[in-house]
Symmetry: C2
Amino acid sequence: MAVYTHLAAEQLAELIDAYDVGPLVSAKGIAEGVSNSNWVVETGGSKAAGSRFILTMYERRIEIADLPFFLNLLDHLAERNCPVPRTIHDREGASFRMIEGKAVVLIEFLPGVSVDHPTPAQARSVGQALAQVHLASQDFGMSRPNTLDITMSQQTLENCGDGALAAIGPELAACVAKADALREAWPWELPRAICHTDLFPDNVLMLGEKVSALIDFYFACEDAMAYDLAVTHASWCFGHQGREFSEGIGRALVAGYESVRPLSLREREAMPLLAQGACLRFIASRAEDWLNTPQNALVTRKDPMDFVRRLDFYAAAGAGAFTDKP
Amino acid sequence: MAVYTHLAAEQLAELIDAYDVGPLVSAKGIAEGVSNSNWVVETGGSKAAGSRFILTMYERRIEIADLPFFLNLLDHLAERNCPVPRTIHDREGASFRMIEGKAVVLIEFLPGVSVDHPTPAQARSVGQALAQVHLASQDFGMSRPNTLDITMSQQTLENCGDGALAAIGPELAACVAKADALREAWPWELPRAICHTDLFPDNVLMLGEKVSALIDFYFACEDAMAYDLAVTHASWCFGHQGREFSEGIGRALVAGYESVRPLSLREREAMPLLAQGACLRFIASRAEDWLNTPQNALVTRKDPMDFVRRLDFYAAAGAGAFTDKP
């Protein structure tokens, strides 16, 4: 989490001049993003607080070819009153520009803070916002496949190798077979939409009990809507290290979602399986990163075991993890 | 340059509540500071842009006992219309608070950007602002010695050892003797004030051609005013790697300074020597850091040779580096 590229004030000012947002007043590199550099940029008058934006420079991972999908999606959702930041287009109408071979994007700054310990009211608001996105994306003309689906998770874990997985944690090697079984049983026919698929608490900004912004749509893709809810459930309802499931948070999240878009019986029945698939998606990518990141690197490796614990929880709890009875 | 401590939104909100600045609306960790963590914090309304602050948490290096000096200095200078940020006091009147054993300070957010390639007009404005600080600090009741003066620089270089210095750069070993000679000739009797002593371009925010803020006073101490001008001269007038002295920037800087506070003849004569002392101060601390930072650390080591080149320039140019004739 750092700013990977130094942009001189002169370069920044020239860049901002390409947009109809007033002159550059301030720019602070922010410690967010692992595959991009970000700045909080302010433009306009010098005395009164001007307009603020997030300037993002894509350093790696993001395919430039995918950018129009991500950026058009933000504009599409924002137009339909979803709490997502709009993109700012330059004077020629382009949604991104290139600096030194890297794509840069100017995005609306939205207020709010990411919570570490959500309340049920906050979880309810997240569920509502997620359902809003699913409904609003129905008439979005573009699509992008989920390259991290259960098939790919199984493949990734298999590629890591049993020995390497067991070295991280003894329970991890068993995940290859679990992923295989889940893939066999996967309900591919559930209703689909554009999904965030990475809606962890740090990708949600809150003002009090209400969601003010969903951010970081760089894993967005077409998938089952209930799967996106399962990802969000797995990333919001547990305490430190994936321990201590909070039934209250889970119930509020699903209730919030259903207050906007009720789940079908088929979706509801699939939730335990989808949640296990969600866990395996993060187990797979974290295990891969773990094995590829030197132990002494300053980058913090995320422990795949945090999601092995969640996986075990969902496998054991079954439909009980999604009961709406208090 | 990173945020070293994670503060949960809940902790941040509680902290901000201790100040009379309205509720927390937004907080972004910023990639500034090597010995502290910083956040841009916004408080107040949710729609209209509220008030902004820099929240600083001191991680190391700063002695808590020195904090009242640094913070009172900011308030003293701001009251006298110097372009420095005010500190915000909490409801009990305290200028800093403790969180988890670390001191945190809320400071006014000032607009502006740090320039990489200053113009003469910008250098002139920096000179003016520096002289303003020197004059305004005359009735500041507190003091702090310069712990990085020529005596200490000489000592630091000697402690590094000739062999280690020569391994960084062959010219570096000769710096011990140079520091010794400078110390012998040092003009200790020049008029003094509270000096910034670290006014590099990244510690100055600019709006167009004018200084909007001088920041990062954590090396501030009592020393000769002309020495502070020499430090600023050495850090503003050279290109990449300490090459290519810019006579125009240097002249504008000194002229700007003298437009507010003219140098005495004695000060003007001392400038070449003071500038060499300034170079040795950075050579010494950088050489020490270089030897103490593992080569594969992700922290960027600053090359002491950048200031050896400047030292050689000042030694060769003498008074010519400070001529006011174009």
